[in-house]
Amino acid sequence: MRKNAARSADPADPLNVVRQLLSSQQVAVLATHNQGQPYGTLVGFSISPDLKFIFFATSRSTRKFANIMADDRTAMTFDDRTHAAADFYDAVGVTACGRSTEVSKSRRSADLRRFLAKHPHLHEFVMSPNCAFLRLRVEKYVMVRRFQDVVELWVS
């Protein structure tokens, strides 16, 4: 997987840029809130083929899980930073906004398989009894390129 795949994607096809970026990254920043106090954490994730869902896992005792249970509105931010000055202008950033819910055990097989194929080292963690497998149903993607170019992709 190339780290900067999104930069070489056809800029006229934003959806493809999103796909390239999400496919090239392992972790993203998950944003939740606790009574209005924003809270960001790094999570491993995977995507559904149609890009409408993003999957991640967390222990049920975490702050982020509690936050999601109280309010399912969440966002997740992906980027291809290289930690160089050029990032300001060259990096692509995408934020997915939507609602997160736990995926019930009976319905999660294909999605979980995909998640573990991407993060095989998380197998034990995900399978442990206290771990929740969640999905973010994407309402829109907000993509920032060239520092200030911002487009939105709404799931219709």
Binding site: P14, L15, Q148, V150, E152, W154, V155, S156
Partner: protein, 719 residues
């Protein structure tokens, strides 16, 4: 001082392995000097100095920002010029880090104290590319005093990002991380005869070509002075051809820099080179060709009887393939003298004749012509239009460079925060479109002050005693129709203007073009920077800049009138059902820009259920200020009449026929880029926030959507 510091390397210490550090020019000059050739004494300011300036001052980030506003491959040449101007200004405004500054000043003082120098670009890797890129980067002659030398070193650094360099970025491998510029600082030799020798004729490989002028070489290199030209047999040096020039001018040193002066008669009557001089130049070319094992292109100068080598490089081919317009873009950069000639031609000949022709055509009674005669008239007008169009490209477009020439001069002298401050000084010179807008404002003011008139205007029906008002309105409608491609004085046009006037009259005070007071202060401050001859030069350049700026606006209008009259004849032929030749079936004047309406939405929708919406679009900051309002997309002239006060005008390119609604606009967004496009000029004139070069504006914005226009940063926020 020596190689140790690596910021500066004197010619005598430069070795082949220093190539990436000192660049091609410094390397070859050092090799020549070390080989015993007469080369003016000098040193190289290394690429390390450039890199330290770039990283320690933070300017690298600034360059990155300018280069990433939009993909360079999508930029028009004008936008590249703008980008390059902003970068250049950043280089001038940014102080050199103190340690680097101290080292450079020390080295320069030690070597050249009290003597004038030349400060020249020496880009690494350029010669290795096998193509000729002469003229992409800057060089300066006759620079005195260490601080001025340092400033010119900064200017040469900046020229790594010149508009020309951006055009050839692929061939140059221009890259913020990898590219660097070294600078040669060299004692200035005040030569009295100078020239170039090509060690091999570009076509006839058995020949050598020598070109020579009186005075300094700069006149020949930048094309202001025509050279005498000799072709010699490459093997024997025997003369084969000689073309003397009309020797009129020569370039000499002035107090600061150089100037073009008339050549005294005695010198004008003789060739710059005697037979013996010519032999020595030939011998030099042969000697250097052997030394570098390739035919050389050598710049040289004679100071009395001493022959100096100014530069030597392997001959390269300048052929960049067919369809490559870049050489043409670069030819648009004109000298002051050349621009003065253009100005005279445009103002005294081109514009009056275009105006006269359009008038004459307008009076022609096309209805009376027989079919055959009408078709002949259509063809004749079309041919004439093509002739005017080609003159427009040959004369008006290059003349726009007058604005650029002045802009650069102003920025060098004033070092303003806003690199486009100079535009303030150029505007207000009576643009045609501004004059017309003022006429409209006067009508609106009359309606505002007179309730009866206002009500009549609202109804669109004149009342007794209002004849002068309605006549003036009709004159305006007719003038506008002439530009917009409407039927002259049509009822529709009149109604639309009346509706527009009602909206304008409802505004408490309509926007007027900026007051002239600030411009006077600015002009005073600018001219106060100069004394004597330099002051005169500054005044002349300002005058030229103003004329160039004004014509940039007006020439469009005149050409538009010609196009309109071609359309009138064409429409008459069409009405009669006559067969029109191919190429004439389309209107020449303003066409709807409907071709761009295909939305990106459908592209993505077809594949997946996503809808694309823009949230923020970036372009170029073309008129400072913040504005907001609902978008009004203008795709055809009719869209203008729906324009409401405070709306943001969104269009492909502002056409002269559109400018009458500009005083009502809360902001302007244009797909076409550039600081000197029509829209940007008019926006600045009225102080309206404007962003140009927003390529997707017509695709991604819909009429009625709320927009915020940030004319400082060049950002349009949607929704």
């Amino acid at each position: 001082m020596g190689v140790v510091s690596m910021l500066v390397v004197p010619f005598e210490k430069i070795r082949p392995e220093h190539a990436p550090l000192v660049g091609g020019k410094a390397l070859s000059l050092a090799a020549l000097a070390q080989g015993g050739a007469m080369v003016p004494d000098g040193l190289a300011v290394t690429t390390e100095a450039y890199h330290r300036f770039l990283t320690e001052s933070g300017i690298a980030t600034r360059i990155r920002r300018e280069l990433s506003r939009r993909p360079i491959e999508q930029m028009r040449w004008e936008e590249m010029w703008d980008t390059s101007l902003r970068i250049r200004n950043a280089f001038i405004k940014t102080p050199v880090p103190s340690q680097v500054r101290r080292s450079l000043l020390k080295a320069v003082l030690k070597r050249f104290e009290g003597r004038p120098v030349a400060v020249r670009s020496s880009a690494p890797g350029e010669d290795a590319s096998g193509q000729s890129f002469a003229g992409l980067h800057e060089s300066y002659l006759n620079v005195r005093e260490a601080p001025a030398i340092l400033r010119h070193i900064q200017l040469v650094w900046a020229s790594l990002w010149s508009d020309a360099a951006l055009l050839y970025r692929k061939e140059l491998g221009l890259d913020i991380e990898k590219s660097a510029m070294a600078v040669v600082v060299q004692e200035l030799v005040p030569g009295n005869r100078s020239g170039v020798v090509f060690g091999r004729h570009p076509v006839k490989s058995n020949c050598v070509v020598v070109e020579a002028v009186h005075g300094l070489n700069q006149g020949l290199v930048d094309g202001t002075v025509a050279p005498d030209r000799w072709t010699l047999d490459r093997r024997t040096g025997d003369l084969m051809e000689f073309y003397p020039a009309d020797r009129e001018m020569h370039v000499v040193l002035s107090r600061e820099g150089v100037e073009v002066r008339r050549l005294p008669k005695a010198r004008a009557s003789r060739s710059p080179l005697s037979d013996a001089d010519l032999r020595r130049v030939y011998a030099l070319a042969m000697h250097l060709g052997q030394k570098f094992r390739a035919p050389q292109d050598v710049e040289w100068t004679y100071r009395q009887s001493r022959l100096y080598v100014l530069q030597s490089r392997a001959i390269t081919t300048g052929n960049h393939g067919e369809g490559d317009k870049r050489a043409w873009y670069l030819s648009l950069r004109r000298s002051f003298g050349n621009l003065l000639e253009l100005r005279a031609r445009i103002e005294n000949d081109l514009i009056p004749k275009m105006d006269e022709e359009a008038r004459r055509w307008k009076e022609d009674r096309l209805h009376d012509l027989a079919d055959g005669a009408l078709l002949a008239e259509v063809a004749r007008r079309y041919d004439r239009y093509q002739e005017w169009l080609s003159r427009y490209w040959e004369e008006c477009i290059p003349f726009a460079h007058g604005v650029r020439l002045f802009g650069q001069f102003y920025n060098d002298a004033m070092q303003p925060e806003d690199p486009y401050e100079f535009v303030e000084l150029l505007s207000g010179g009576g643009l045609e479109s501004v004059k017309r807008n003022e006429a409209l404002q006067r009508l609106a003011a009359r309606a505002r002050a007179n309730t009866r008139l206002f009500l009549a205007l609202e109804r669109g029906e004149p009342e007794d005693g209002q004849e002068s008002f309605w006549t003036e309105l009709d004159v305006f409608a007719s003038a506008l129709a002439g530009d917009a491609g409407e039927e002259d004085g049509s009822h529709e046009g009149r109604k639309a203007i009346a509706a527009l006037l009602v909206r304008m009259a409802k505004q408490p005070s309509a926007k007027a073009s900026l007051p002239p007071r600030d411009k006077h202060a600015l002009e005073k401050a600018f001219l106060a920077k100069f004394r004597g001859k330099k002051r005169k030069e500054a005044e002349e350049l300002l005058d030229l800049g103003r004329s160039s700026y004004r014509l940039r606006d007006d020439d469009n209008i005149y050409l538009g009138r010609i196009a309109r009259q071609v359309d009138v004849a064409r429409d008459e032929a069409k009405r009669r059902g006559l067969p029109l030749p191919i190429g004439l079936s389309q209107s020449l004047s303003m066409r709807p820009t409907g071709g761009q309406q295909h939305a990106a939405k459908t592209i993505t929708q077809a594949r997946l259920d996503f809808e694309l919406r823009a949230r923020q679009l970036t372009g170029q900051p073309a008129g400072p200020g913040l504005g907001s309002g609902c978008a009004r997309l203008i795709r055809c002239p009719q869209d203008l009449f729906g324009f409401q006060s405070g709306e943001v005008l969104v269009c492909d390119a502002i056409d002269p026929s559109m400018t009458f609604v500009i005083p009502l606009a809360g902001g302007i967004v244009e797909c076409r880029g550039g600081m000197l496009v029509h829209g940007a000029i008019i926006a600045r004139e009225y102080g309206i926030p404007c962003v140009t070069g927003v390529q997707d504006a017509l695709r991604m914005i819909e009429t009625g959507t709320h927009l915020q226009v940030d004319g400082y940063l060049g950002i349009v926020t949607i929704g």
